[in-house]
Assembly symmetry: C2
Homo-oligomer: 406 residues x 2
């Protein structure tokens, strides 16, 4: 008998019929002899509806109150799923994040789990019950409800799988697994049977929406195998794990893209130590994540500093950069909101040279201009014009023959 932690996203529980479908899937797993803990998102659309309600009573909802408000969405779907399981003869109990022992720090809207106290879940599992846990939420020491921010509902299942020493974490969603590229962009994108944690992390961090990067990091740290599969079909999904060290990894394995990229260039920054820090400290304090930072060579004691942020953060970043530019004696700044990025990812890239060059060549042939380049050991990313992103993804998919299984 294995303990499995499953997760069902918002589209998988979008209405009563889909909730009953998920209940049958869980019941099947239990009938095969597994113990099941299932984490659920809010019914599709619920979170947006709650945010809209909040917008009708105030301009900018308080973070703490918004968290308490949004947390109800997952509680509703959890309770309904437990009812649906009982209806088909399977004992089940639903738990809020607080009841499930998901403890977090106090940062509302983007809290991190500090501990999982699994006592209640274990007690319910011992009674042979399916345990349904409301995803996306936890509770502080002061018993205030927190949420992990949008997309963060993958954190709960992986953290529970770690704490409960589950055999596997299964993420059920509206896609059938992880693909070599987004199938909506590349028609012959291929579903991967298997991918390594670090590759999945790079893909997720650079635009692949399948899973939340923090959840993958957590799985990697504690070596929990993660299966990504569809809740609407029985097609085999993609297994994310540490891979087989002896086996040569594929050199380019997949392509991620992201169209929400904006660029800010500060011109004529005096070449004094500490000025870059002065520029970036207030952005960091405001919680704005810098994606790429490039400083060109200093000419006559002045340099240009360019950085990218998400499109959503551009307005706030501009408000902060404006005054700072004057303060540090730079010439001025410009921004470009209409950028995107494409990344090639593969564990084998670190052992071989030439992948970056192949990438630039393919983009050049597709007449895609490269604005900025960044790399990690197993990834190369190019910032390009937003409108050129789909073309760039297709060109790279072709160039590295990713449609072909090795």
């Amino acid at each position: 008998m294995a303990l499995i932690v499953q997760k069902y996203g918002g589209t998988s529980v979008a209405n009563a019929e889909k909730i009953r479908n998920v209940a049958r899937r869980i019941a099947d797993a239990q009938s095969r002899g597994d113990q099941v803990v299932a984490v659920v998102s809010a019914m599709g659309g619920t979170t947006d509806a709650l945010i809209e309600l909040a917008g009708q009573v105030c301009d900018q909802p308080d973070d703490r109150e918004l968290d308490l408000l949004l947390s109800t969405g997952e509680i509703v779907s959890s309770a309904l799923l437990a009812m649906a399981l009982r209806q088909i003869g399977h004992e089940a109990v639903s738990l809020s994040g607080s009841q499930a022992g998901i403890r977090t720090e106090r940062s509302h809207g983007r809290a991190r789990i500090t501990a999982v106290q699994p006592g209640r879940i274990q007690k319910e599992l011992a009674k042979s019950r399916v345990v349904i846990v409301a995803g996306f939420q936890g509770v502080t020491e002061e018993m205030d409800v927190t949420t992990f921010g949008r997309g963060g509902s993958d954190i709960t299942p992986v953290a529970l799988a770690v704490q409960l020493r589950a055999a596997r974490c299964e993420i059920f969603t509206d896609v059938e697994g992880v693909y070599t590229a987004d199938p909506r962009v590349v028609s012959n994108a291929r579903k991967l049977k298997h991918i390594r944690y670090e590759e999945m992390l790079e893909l997720a961090s650079h635009g692949a929406k399948v899973m939340h990067p923090r959840a993958i990091e957590l799985g990697a740290e504690f070596k929990v195998p993660i299966l990504v599969a569809s809740s609407f079909s029985d097609a085999p999904g993609t297994l994310i794990d540490g891979g087989e060290p002896e086996k040569e990894a594929r050199q380019v394995m997949g392509i991620a893209h992201d169209i929400d990229v904006a660029k800010v260039t500060v011109r004529g920054v005096p070449d004094h130590p500490g000025l870059a820090a002065k520029l970036f400290a207030p952005l960091s304090e405001a919680g704005i994540r810098l994606d790429t930072v490039v400083q060109n060579a200093s000419v006559e004691g002045k340099a240009d500093i360019t950085f990218t942020v998400s499109y959503q953060d551009l307005k706030r970043a501009s408000d902060i950069v404006g005054p700072t530019v004057l303060e540090i004696g730079a010439h001025g700044w410009v921004s470009d909101p209409n950028l995107g990025k494409v990344s090639i990812v593969g564990s084998g890239m670190q052992s071989g040279a030439g992948y970056a060059a192949d990438m630039f060549k393919a983009l050049h042939e597709a007449e895609v201009n490269i604005e900025l380049i960044t790399t990690s050991g197993i990834r190369t990313t190019c910032i390009v014009d937003e409108a050129k992103v789909p073309e760039a993804v297709r060109a790279l998919h072709d160039a590295f023959s990713l449609e072909v299984e090795e």
Copy 2:
């Protein structure tokens, strides 16, 4: 500076505009120098919508799961109200029943409060914040969420007023106060300025929907003055308190009615000790509340036993009574689902005779046939044909001249 506990019902917070209106009322109270704890119901319609959702995933929702599901309704309205208060510059925090320290016994769907642990509320009040509490819910020792059953959201404000030693509990609703009879039935019904706990308790227990009887009992026990008023107007409401002992109370003060009455008569019950207990024990175990029980004189060692239950309970009561009738050797049983009751209530009734006689005379003149009669010290109730209830109420209101202020 007085501490006031307010309660806003579902129609008072039915949409964003009404929530903003309630926020303004609370802000006004705080601006007058009062500390405010406000208990809110779910936005009108929410609870029914959640029950409908539950009905779409199962035939009969599990009590525990239903409580967790329904509790989200009040959390949503509480969080929205706190946001609306912050929007107009008043610091506010919303608390679930659990966070507010409302501890209950384990009976889901009809839990009773066992304790109020006011630590968190007091901490927030000390920060000069308005505290919004989700009504209708609490939490067991095992941290399972419970609800008080429909209509039970008046319990939270009164219990909080008791525990926090509030100067007053204010119940804001969609009527302007307590009337001498239901104004929808009696056009010249008069709003009472003042009513005693025991009178209000009799009215509420016999059909007046203004407040939940358990909440009134609790207020009476701890002598918390309760104001019932409209959240949509500034008209003065009705104050419920212990009254002035030296002042002669009005003899008949108001009329309650209820059309959800059903009657069961068990014919030919052998006159042996203990048979009535055998008849009623299984009903009590099933949680069916008997309203009125009458046994006629025994003729030839056989008696008829008649009792009334709410219309909703008739089906379950019938299922239980059928087999029991055979078991105790009675002749058989009949039921009548279409009854109602009218009650006259007044503290002065206990000191004077003749009110019951006046009641029967008025009903007789209105050609309303009386099926059964019950009395308490300050109340007389007649069970009548459901269709005759409105006529009976009007006849009694006229007979006792309740439209005239004394």
